[in-house]
């Protein structure tokens, strides 16, 4: 099979196992491309992509933009901070105005869950979800699984614990779907207040003791505490959170085995992980960033190939 089963990337939930396999195989080729002296291929030279960011982002936006440029697509960028959204324009109107400029694909980050799905029902363009509220962040989950595959040789049968603020995290949900689809075992670990009430219904293990969780796992994906999404206090203090759910070198060294540490960024150094962990050989945080470009190139390339000439 050499074609995705979907026309949009709205969430991992809509993908099947073969889709993920195809994205990874394609990303392998693009990873080779971005390590060449000249890191650009002309495939998408007649495709225009709009990056619509209705919510702040540094790394994801840069990563998407770089991926698009490496594929030779024309790119236009839009951030809601400086736009007519502030003047009361609706989402569909904003996007339709942009599509009138003959845009083929939209990469969108939006604070509302389901914004991408809504858009895909109303506009004629391929939609890539770059994060919709606390719902999904599919490219992050893909690059996380891809990085695990690269480091450990595969995802199937691996034990992955996602630590931290599961409640507000789109990365957690997308990762749970992606890892389970590929046959990994998933555990979530965090303070009870930051674990969604029915999270076990997704078939994941739940643990509130970090040491136990780390002793169980092969990979720990450390999430950031999303202070900006917290309307109330979910734990007494940052210091107390760090004491119970922060990973430091002493804790890692005291485990029975060497585990791999991941972080989707941006890191709050000294909160969820200490600097010596983030910069250690066990962390693959910067590999994740590099793989992010290759994965996004693969996703955009495969979706673009379904836009008929």
């Amino acid at each position: 099979m050499s074609e995705l089963s979907v026309n949009h990337l709205l969430g991992i939930k809509y993908l099947n196992k073969k889709d993920i396999q195809l994205i990874f195989e394609t990303a392998d080729h693009f990873k080779e491309v971005i390590n060449r002296p000249i890191k650009k291929v002309p495939s998408l030279r007649d495709i225009t992509i709009a990056n619509l960011f209705f919510e702040n982002s540094t790394r994801t936006k840069l990563s998407f933009e770089l991926a698009e440029k490496r594929l030779s697509a024309d790119v236009i960028n839009f951030s809601s901070g400086q736009s007519s959204v502030k003047k009361g324009e609706t989402l569909i109107d904003t996007v339709n105005n942009i599509l009138s400029m003959k845009v083929d694909m939209v990469v969108m980050r939006h604070p509302n869950p389901g914004a991408g799905i809504f858009l895909s029902n109303h506009v004629k363009a391929s939609i890539v979800n770059a994060g919709d509220g606390a719902h999904e962040h599919p490219t992050q989950a893909l690059l996380d699984s891809y990085s695990i595959r690269e480091k450990l040789g595969g995802v199937r049968g691996k034990k992955v614990v996602i630590v931290g603020d599961i409640l507000h995290s789109r990365v957690a949900l997308s990762n749970i779907f992606a890892l389970q689809l590929q046959g990994a075992e998933v555990m979530v670990c965090g303070p009870k207040t930051l674990l969604p009430k029915y999270i076990d219904k997704l078939g994941v293990k739940v643990e509130t003791n970090l040491r136990k969780a780390l002793n169980w796992c092969d990979v720990a994906n450390m999430l950031r505490v999303q202070n900006e999404r917290m309307d109330i206090s979910y734990f007494p203090s940052t210091r107390e959170y760090t004491q119970q759910f922060g990973v430091n070198k002493d804790l890692l060294d005291s485990l029975d085995k060497e585990i791999t540490i991941m972080h989707p960024g941006p890191i709050n150094r000294g909160v969820e992980i200490t600097s010596d962990v983030a910069d250690s050989n066990q962390a693959i945080i910067l590999d994740q960033v590099e793989n992010g470009v290759a994965i996004r190139m693969a996703v955009i390339y495969l979706l673009a190939s379904k836009i008929k000439h």
Partner: protein
């Protein structure tokens, strides 16, 4: 569908040796030459020629690689199928090198056009030549001709030329297939 044998194993073998000799005539000890097989099917021919040059003509240190042209093709989004990429393996820079592109069948010339663009991502070669086992003349879409050709074939457009290799299909042979 009918098929006709254009070349049998013995003929393929004779042609491969002739092509190897022609390469030696031009490139001597291959010190500044690299052989690049074009993915997917040119790779078998490149491997075979490299083996012959090493084993039968005692040429040492031949540099060879594989180049995938998928992302440089001009028919992206034009066909029904998504173009699937293959591996590129070039563990050297091609700057100032003499390159020989190797492919099994030269037809429209579009793959070679893509390969000429693709190779630029690896540096600026001194010169580029083209070697093909089969040259389907009269069917070119672009002004591209081989420097070394195994056999020239006149085939009409609804015919297909297929090369079989011992390593892959279990026999060395070239077939003309009428669709």
């Amino acid at each position: 569908m009918s098929q006709k044998v254009l070349l049998n194993a013995k003929e393929v073998n004779i042609i491969l040796h002739r092509l190897a000799c022609q390469l030696i005539e031009k490139h001597n000890d291959f010190s500044n030459t690299v052989l690049i097989g074009l993915q997917p099917r040119g790779v078998y021919l490149a491997d075979r020629l490299t083996k012959i040059l090493k084993a039968d003509y005692k040429v040492k240190n031949i540099k060879s690689g594989q180049l995938d042209i998928t992302f440089y093709r001009d028919d992206f989004r034009r066909g029904d199928k998504t173009l699937k990429a293959n591996t590129t393996e070039l563990d050297f820079l091609v700057e100032d090198k003499n390159i020989v592109f190797i492919d099994d069948v030269l037809y429209t010339g579009r793959s070679i056009r893509a390969a000429l663009t693709a190779i630029q991502s690896f540096g600026r070669p001194n010169e580029i030549e083209l070697l093909t086992l089969i040259d389907r003349r009269f069917s070119r879409h672009l002004p591209i001709q081989p420097d070394y050709r195994g056999r020239q074939v006149d085939a009409i457009n609804n015919e297909k030329v297929i090369v079989h290799w011992q390593e892959n299909e279990g026999e060395d042979a070239v077939y003309l297939i009428e669709k």
